[in-house]
Amino acid sequence: MKCAPFDYVRAGSVEEVVKVLGEADGDGKILAGGQSLVPVLALRMARPSVLVDVNRIPGLARIRPVDGAVEVGALTRHSRLVEQTHHPLLAEAARWIGHTAIRSRGTTGGSIAHADPSAELPVVAAGVDATVTIAGPSGERTVAAEELFLGALLTSLDDGDMIVRVRFPLPTRWGFAEFARRHGDFALVTAVVAEIAGSLRITLGGVAAVPQRARAAEQIVADGGSAKDAARATADEIDPTADLHGSAPFRRAIAGEMVRRALAQVGIE
């Protein structure tokens, strides 16, 4: 339960991170909040030779409202997201992440890069059509969150890439509902309802390897259908896998109910 040895670099700038990761040639890892990486190292599921600590890079923890959206620096701790008032959906979602001692260290960039299928921030990012700005060997680029998530714990980030900020559009209306076995546990199902540019998006976490849009349910709502019908459509259109924490039919039922609750928050009964 102790990490294998590694070289430690305390980076002072994003450029330095990209340089060190490049030199490590696939054997380096960024260390942000450490709330997902350090357990992985302790269990020796990964043994990178270099850890690049990004915690002391200045200017990466800003939360900035920009027109119609809020820009969140990669190093923003979950606890700061809970406190901010610019993006109420983000604040609500962050409240559901783990416990105080996890939220005080864990970061937005780390959560998006880790891409846990049950994590809150990736669902919100996909749900509001967020864009992620990434620094890499050939400069900065911006990609849609939905394109970033490829699978469970799998993203389109290259070895030498670092997420620097995420731009979360502000929904005109939103709802958030989550079901977990115990307070602070990873979610069994998360449902995010967000009205972006006039259309209502329904996005689910925990039911597939990546955040999943409930498109049949969205169509029902767009056609003026009830939340109950949307919930039923959700349960039908997803294909959750069973595990220790819940059977597939149970997850379908919970997903439908979470969609119903999130829709109720935007006044759709």
């Binding site: 450490g34 350090v38 302790a42």
Partner: protein
């Protein structure tokens, strides 16, 4: 690597390997064995300490990351005269512990809660302590103790080093 940190108000210099966790550094290099290690991967809460006033899992931080920080461990709770902190007194009085393994993490988490939310109700106390696992007490006594300490601490709690500075 040589690092310098303030532990319970005392400047400390230690030489650690980068992979040394803060928890191991506190226990092995600083001789402060009050910080307990249960799971060593973030889930049990036994190793919870305050780093610059915010609760953190000491098993999920490397000591080198705490360079220049101030850390509060359970040893920092007692007064200079060795008197127990009101929270500790309440844990004793209300059966807040049996084997005591989870207690340091419980105390630190509760300390932070009472510091930031002195009027937290029972539900909030339970929510806040849900990140700390206890295999003995059934939690009832722990929550009772935190509520009793709220009464005893009419003044907002400050961490020992904050009041030293």
């Amino acid at each position: 690597m040589n690092i310098s940190l303030s532990v319970n108000g005392e400047r400390t210099q230690i030489d650690v390997e980068p992979r040394r966790t803060l928890a191991d550094a506190l226990r092995e290099d600083c001789g402060l064995t009050g910080t307990h290690l249960g799971c060593e991967h973030g889930v049990c809460g036994a190793c919870t300490v305050l780093v610059d006033g915010e609760p953190a899992r000491a098993c999920l931080m490397f000591a080198v990351q705490a360079d220049g920080s101030s850390v509060t461990t359970v040893e920092g709770l007692e007064g200079t005269d060795g008197e127990l902190h009101p929270l500790q007194e309440a844990f004793v009085a209300h059966h807040g512990l049996q084997c005591g393994f989870c207690t340091p993490g419980m105390l630190i988490s509760a300390l932070h809660l009472l510091d930031t939310e002195p009027d937290a109700d029972r539900d909030k106390i339970r929510e806040e302590l849900s990140g700390n696992i206890c295999r003995c007490t059934g939690y009832q006594g722990i929550v009772d103790a935190v509520q009793a300490a709220q009464g005893a601490l009419a003044e907002p709690v400050t961490t020992p080093e904050a009041s030293d500075e």
